[in-house]
Symmetry: C2
Subunit: 261 residues, 2 copies
């Protein structure tokens, strides 16, 4: 049995219920392809380019998209940022540097939560990413409703364009994802041991440890038993593992008995 | 005034209070460099390699690290996964595929929280990443205490090695980061308007709108005033913007008055 899995989510063609990612004057096709891959990893499909420096389509982009062609095939190219965001209701600008502009500033996590709410209310959000070398112009930032700033090591905060897209997409996907944050992944054909099986194993072990004199002196026995039980308890054993452990106990005894013979 | 900033965190040389990132048989130096960059973005410094396929050091790694040489200079190379994790107390294996092994499975977010706790208790955590083409061997996964599985689009979940390092590092950094999730970034040399300034502007505007007959008929005036005030209220204006707005009101009146002359 595998860990609980979320049912498949919005397909890549469902573009109206996911935020648009808008790359402004991206310089390298390679980064566009990697951004497309990062988008599809996070079930995002609406990629827009403003005046890509190497033109469009771009072979390098196809190569680095690692199979995310569905995103590249639906790319729309615009001649201005204003045209690229015309149909959107809420626009975020990703910036690393401080700008001399008064704007709300959000972490990717807060922006992701907000974008889910905006879509639930019938709005259309999008995120602007600047060119690799110098980011967004102040004119582009001004067009945005808010700024997204990724909290990173302040002494080394520059990230690659595709990595910025990945982090925004990742937070978007996590905010809509209901996979439990933790759990137990089980091997196939087994199940967690029940308490009767576990206690049966404890008693088997303690019987043999009494027999070989390990649980002495008697006044220390209760604490020793508690510690041993606790250790195995913590291991969260499966039914198969309990049987294996009982086999180990029996096997060790047989070896010991043979030596004594 | 910029948005609140966190004080600089643990430097890259403080290796004992951050998790180790262990790349098992990485195939491309390029990916090692990008992983180093992603680590330093997130204030991680302890990079270990198990039998890198192209040997070590590697020029491509230096090139793609984009200045994260401090991480590359401190890389340690090992001949086995067991040797690479010998000094660690808790090891996580990143896997995309389901394995036929019973293990706790955590999201990157849950693992990050757990790793912070482990370090606070004096433990040393580390995360194993498999080779680009096929991930970790089951033998390597078996050495780990738990599995980290990134919740991603189930129909397109394969991510690049450096991107996997980025997502784990990002969650690690976010878990220890106290930057507010949202706030207002202010332009320099200004401050939020106080209510006297804002209400002064409202009254100025309403006086002029009364004068030009905009706020009619009288029975609709209260609702119109409320809606206009609310719109400006929502804008969260600075003291400078209030002055600018009052200038706009006066300017428009002067233009109107000139036309009437």
């Amino acid at each position: 049995m595998a860990a609980p899995r979320r049912p498949p989510k919005s397909s890549a063609s469902a573009e109206t219920d996911t935020p648009a990612m808008i790359l402004v004057e991206p310089q390298l096709g390679e980064n566009i392809g990697m951004a497309a891959r990062a988008m599809l990893n996070n079930a995002l499909a609406d990629l827009r380019l403003v005046s890509p420096v190497q033109g469009w389509p771009n072979d390098q982009a196809t190569k680095t998209s690692s199979g995310a062609e569905v995103v590249l095939e639906n790319v729309r190219v615009f001649h201005s940022t204003a045209a690229a965001i015309a149909d959107l209701s809420h626009v975020y600008a990703t910036t690393a540097r401080d700008r001399d502009l008064t704007k709300p500033v959000l972490s990717p996590r807060a922006a992701a939560a907000e974008m889910h709410k905006i879509i639930a209310q019938g709005g259309r959000p999008g995120v602007l990413f600047g060119r690799e070398a110098w980011g967004l112009d102040n004119d582009d930032v001004t067009l945005a409703d808010a700024v997204i700033s990724v909290p990173l090591n302040p002494t080394f905060s520059s990230i690659n364009l595709a990595q910025a897209v990945l982090l925004i997409g990742y937070e978007w996907y996590q905010a809509g994802d209901d996979t439990p944050q933790s759990g137990m992944r089980l091997a196939k054909k087994t199940r967690p041991a029940n308490k009767a099986e576990l206690i049966g194993m404890f008693e088997h072990l303690e019987r043999e440890l009494d027999a070989c004199g390990f649980l002495r002196p008697p006044e220390k026995r209760p604490a020793m038993v508690r510690n041993i039980r606790n250790m195995f308890q913590r291991a969260g054993m499966t039914e198969q593992e309990v049987r294996t452990m009982r086999g180990i106990i029996s096997g060790l005894i047989r070896r010991h008995q043979r030596k004594q013979d």
